[in-house]
Symmetry: none
Subunit: 201 residues, 4 copies
DNA sequence: AATGAATGAGTCTTCATTCAT
DNA sequence: AATGAATGAAGACTCATTCAT
């Protein structure tokens, strides 16, 4: 479970972002204090404000990083999957599951703490999340159009797919029964079944 | 969206529980203050402590009520659905979706705020949640045994079903495009598809 | 260590007074709450106010009972000791020590918590305490006048005697090395020595 | 009555410690609020917590300072008194009385409020207090061994001496009848008499 | 970029006390 | 005499944030 953010080219910034990710992941946005973040980042409380003007902005930045990374991975996975909707959906789901498992806290924060953002910090995040969901929506639409996904709800099924993959973060434990690979495999099948694609027996 | 808790036979208790549900639902456990709860309940801050010894205990009680109600509804729905696994799953999912829509905040709190509970308040809740999930697990197991659910992952699919239904709470808005009935219908089909039951074309 | 206050002929009054004594003894006047007292007395919080109009008054009553009892015991001991100052002092000290040991918390409260009393509750207590000290002052004065106590400070030595005996309460433990009898014996000798009375070799 | 703690080399620390000493001295540990301390120290309530993590810890630090200072003074006094037990005891008592008078509240707090300390804050204080008493115990033992103190209770008399000197704090008023010098003189004699040393007529 | 000290508003919780029954 | 419910003030402590250095 490597750190999500590697380097930003600006002093302690990456350490602070990763610390915020951990803190918000463990205690939630309101439960974690700036002192918690500072402690995890190994810097002083007041130094945080040299990088981010407020706690909300810090959360916003963390979420932006997480979403950008997830989006990039999904794009890459889909591109490498070729043109057919079924393998595209399969690979997108597998990538999503892998990201969820590898960066569970990032996913948790991303799903749960956005609602504590208001004003100008909020909308870019919502847009980014919609873009991520849009990737799935496109695949489902393509599959429905070509007749290979026979779900009667092609306009809504993508949301179900995304919800299903994201919810793994709420219960997954690294020492659990299922490996990341098994989880990815299972969910790929769940999602193909959900959109009513033909399945190998 | 009627109040979840009607009356407990003890002074202001029901009003406080419902107020806590609303407050935790809107701002999260850590974001909502006991003052918020008191204001919503129409009583004084200190009077809260005549009913619940701590904020955590208050949350625990709220969650217990929500889970008990959900569990009871699911039981009833499953019983009335007869013996075949497919209609049983269909009715369970529909009941779950209806509960999620009608008591969205209860569901949100139930999914998101349990992790702020520790010590003796936590375990009964986890057990109750497992019991709810167990209802679905039984149905899936029955369907898999009888061959009507052909999912290769009968031991894990119930969790996916529950996650899928619960996640509605994170995005549903009463004024959205889909009615509760449509939502229930869609998810019933998603879930039957997910466990690879035969579907009417 | 029997309860200090036996019965007052008024419902739960004695139980409340003894409970207050214990509570104030253990946690101090400000550290103990009326709830603590109620719990120890086995009654309800609000019922306390049927007997005593305020926490301060409750403390005042407790102190009055303790002082009255101590004063009575000292009077009796002195009277039974005859007319000579040396045996009178000896018996007074022994009685004081015995009371301190038997009702340690009463003594602790009496020494330490009076200062939290103000207004009309305070002065009667101070007067009662002065009366107790006056008993010793009289004996020392008598002994000095008759030449048997040769202390150069007859006007001040009584205070030292009283302080010395009372301070036992601050360190005495029932399971300690010294029995009540030994303690009484030792202090009788300390005090006779302090006033410079002739001592048996 | 100069401030007990001069400077600690860390911001407002000395001011806070002295303020705590005054506040606890006047109202007791439980009667004084952290706001009281802040007001006396001329700083904000929250700033207190930049120096001491809790009220109990603040009390513990205050007590440590007071005990260290007392112990140092006693050591010095004893060392300068030469080798004979009688002058050593005399000078130790005088130093103790002077400290009690000069830092009455420190002594009061030290005697009365230790019992509100629990856990790891408590034991170092008890040990320090025992060390102080140990100084007197050594002197009494030495005097008893050399035959100049003829008390039959050499193992216990030191406690009486310490109690006697400390109790001055409970009644002393700066505008009272006796000066500090007189008080020191009187108690030196009380204590020598108490251990049954030969006294100048 | 980095820190320690500082602050005012806010947190949960407990307090002594009152009131209706 | 006795209780359970209620309350406003106050308790210790933490918060996000700022400022001087």
């Amino acid at each position: 479970m490597a750190a999500l953010i590697r380097d930003t080219g600006r002093g302690n910034e990456a350490a602070i972002l990763n610390a915020a990710l951990d803190a918000f992941g463990e205690k939630g946005f309101n439960g974690a204090s700036m002192r918690d973040v500072a402690r995890l980042a190994g810097t002083s409380l007041s130094n945080l404000y040299n990088y981010f003007p407020s706690k909300a902005r810090l959360l916003a930045e963390v979420l932006r990083w997480a979403n950008d990374e997830l989006y990039a991975r999904l794009r890459r996975a889909v591109e490498e999957a070729g043109d057919d909707p079924a393998p595209r959906l399969r690979e997108a789901v597998r990538a999503y599951v892998r990201f969820t498992v590898e960066h569970r806290v990032a996913m948790l924060v991303s799903m749960g703490e956005v609602r504590y953002l208001h004003g100008p910090d909020r909308e870019p995040l919502i847009a980014a999340r919609d873009a991520t969901e849009g990737l799935f929506a496109d695949i489902v639409a393509q599959g429905a159009a070509s007749g290979v996904f026979r779900t009667p709800y092609p306009a809504d099924a993508a949301r179900a797919v995304v919800s299903l993959c994201g919810s793994i973060a709420t219960w997954y434990r690294p020492d659990g029964r299922l490996s990341m690979g098994q989880l990815a495999e299972q969910h790929a099948r769940y999602c193909l079944a959900l959109v009513e694609a033909p399945l190998a027996a």
